[in-house]
């Protein structure tokens, strides 16, 4: 079984996670830029983070045979902070990079006018840079937030087929299913969505335009819940092709719209620098 996790914050995870993920078949990941749990206080804090998402993190992932791409944005939780908003002017430079496969996570946290503005500007950047958009839906007041998200997406002029609306549940999936947008589901150990609930949604809505992710980060989360969901699908009677579609072909199709998804690392290791013994010494034993 091959798994592509379309939303996971590897910066917050350990090398043990990478090893377990690779062993479980999680061979490709997309890491959206997001909040760090601790508020940032200036744009430089973002650029160092973006550099890490496009430099160190893919390098770290490659040591374990995992292909890493990123999405870049000013996240919704900080979009209302005037200390952070100037980073919007630095985004164009990052949105041109090879491994950037979408603008994201963008969207709403508290649905303020400041968040409207950042959301709108970043949807325009997605259109300008020919990139898909990954949209986070708020945890509080989710249904209203999802409706307002879809209105803003429609008004922006971006092709809905290039938008993934994430963190959906039984209540909000119906709002998105008829819009042409992709539907993202984050499987969490306690909150958001569980594997059995996800299987039920797949039974009702089908596998088309569905993305399943672990959204694992620094909170209570588990990078292998994608695998658990895949197994729950098989146990519930879905066949291997259904699982492959949801866990691999769908995310590949969505992010390939960027024209920058590069999965060649899965088959042909890059010369010299991806050799496990050589590269391994730099991280697995690094710092000794």
């Amino acid at each position: 079984m091959r798994i592509f996790d379309p939303h996971i914050h590897m910066t917050s995870r350990t090398t043990d996670d990478y090893a377990r993920m690779a062993a479980a078949g999680v061979l490709a990941v997309v890491e959206p830029s997001f909040w760090l749990g601790q508020p940032r206080t200036n744009p430089g804090s973002f650029t160092d983070y973006f550099d890490s998402l496009l430099g160190w993190e893919p390098y770290r992932a490659a040591q374990f045979g995992v292909v890493h791409h990123a999405t870049i944005a000013l996240n919704p939780k900080e979009a209302g902070d005037p200390r952070c908003v100037p980073v919007l002017d630095l985004l164009p430079r990052y949105l041109d990079k090879d491994r950037v496969v979408a603008v994201g996570e963008i969207g709403y946290d508290s649905m303020t006018p400041e968040e409207d503005d950042a959301f709108e500007r970043q949807l325009a950047l997605a259109v300008e840079h020919d990139l898909p958009a990954l949209v986070h839906t708020p945890h509080r007041d989710k249904a209203r937030g999802t409706r307002r998200t879809l209105e803003l997406v429609a008004a922006s002029g971006i092709d809905p087929g290039r938008v993934a609306v994430d963190h959906l549940n039984e209540v909000t999936v119906g709002l998105v299913s008829g819009t042409g947008c992709w539907m993202g589901f984050s499987i969490y150990p306690e909150t958001k969505m569980s594997p059995p609930r996800m299987v039920e949604i797949l039974r009702r809505h089908g596998t088309e335009r569905v993305l399943v992710n672990s959204a694992a980060d620094w909170g209570v989360s588990d990078p292998l819940l994608t695998l658990e969901t895949a197994n729950a699908m098989l146990a519930a009677g879905f066949d291997e092709d259904d699982v492959d579609r949801v866990m691999w072909r769908n995310p590949v199709e969505f992010y390939a719209q960027s024209g920058r998804l590069d999965l060649t690392g899965l088959t042909a290791a890059e010369p010299s620098f991806a050799e496990p013994t050589f590269a391994g010494s730099s991280i697995k034993r690094g710092g000794e």
Binding site: G55, R93, F278, S282, G286
Partner: protein, 225 residues
């Protein structure tokens, strides 16, 4: 701090024991010639011309070089890939007064491939010592691709202490020493002492010393009298 130097260590070697693999003697002209008649030539010519006229355009063309010029090894220029060479040509097209600020910026906002391309291009550019801070930044990382690229011919601007630490870091992190330009010419008694101490630690840990480092240590200490 002063590390005791073993008295038996011989002075720096002048004759090289290993052939340099780094493409140290490449020139902008040779990189340009390698694109002659290639399918990427039209894009490259357009981007180079744009950079000469509108230097700010390099931010986008530099980022796009991997997608536009490809990433395959460049025929006839060992050690260079097409995107690295294209990026070097874009840098070389900058008007002289914009070369330093744009180069520093492209490295600052570059992804790992772009940073590596900047480092590789430095010895081919009329930039003096202005880009030494970029080497120091790269040497601070644990990214083998950046460490290797930082130890090309431009590393002649590193002082001996920084250079020794960089070579030792290569040994430590497994970067092959053939990435280091003029290794035998620059290797000195102090480096030999550092390598000897490292070999001792490795032996104590029951782990092998990388062969190229062991060979270097041997060359530095073999002709003792």
């Amino acid at each position: 701090m002063n590390r005791p130097v073993e008295p038996s260590v011989k002075p720096p070697m002048r004759s090289s024991g290993t052939p340099p693999v780094q493409a140290s003697d490449e020139s902008i002209e040779r990189l340009r010639d390698a694109f002659q008649g290639a399918p990427q030539e039209a894009w490259l010519d357009g981007a180079v011309e744009a950079v000469a006229g509108r230097p700010g355009s390099i931010a986008r063309s530099f980022a796009a070089a991997g997608r536009r010029a490809g990433r395959a090894p460049l025929a006839g220029v060992p050690g260079w890939s097409a995107d690295e060479a294209a990026r070097a040509l874009l840098l070389a097209a900058l008007p002289h007064d914009r070369l330093t600020p744009e180069t520093l910026d492209l490295y600052r906002y570059g992804d790992a491939d772009e940073k590596r391309a900047v480092l590789k291009a430095l010895p081919l550019l009329p930039i003096g010592t202005a880009a030494v801070p970029l080497l120091l930044d790269a040497l601070r990382t644990n990214d083998a691709r950046l460490l290797a690229a930082a130890l090309g011919p431009y590393a002649r601007h590193l002082d001996q202490a920084a250079w020794r630490q960089a070579v030792l870091k290569c040994v430590f992190t497994g970067v092959p020493l053939n990435a280091v330009d003029r290794l035998d010419e620059r290797a000195d008694a102090e480096l030999a002492a550092m390598l000897a101490a490292f070999a001792e630690e490795r032996e104590a840990a029951g782990r092998p010393m990388p062969q190229d480092a062991e060979a270097l240590l041997r060359r530095l200490t073999s002709e003792e009298t």
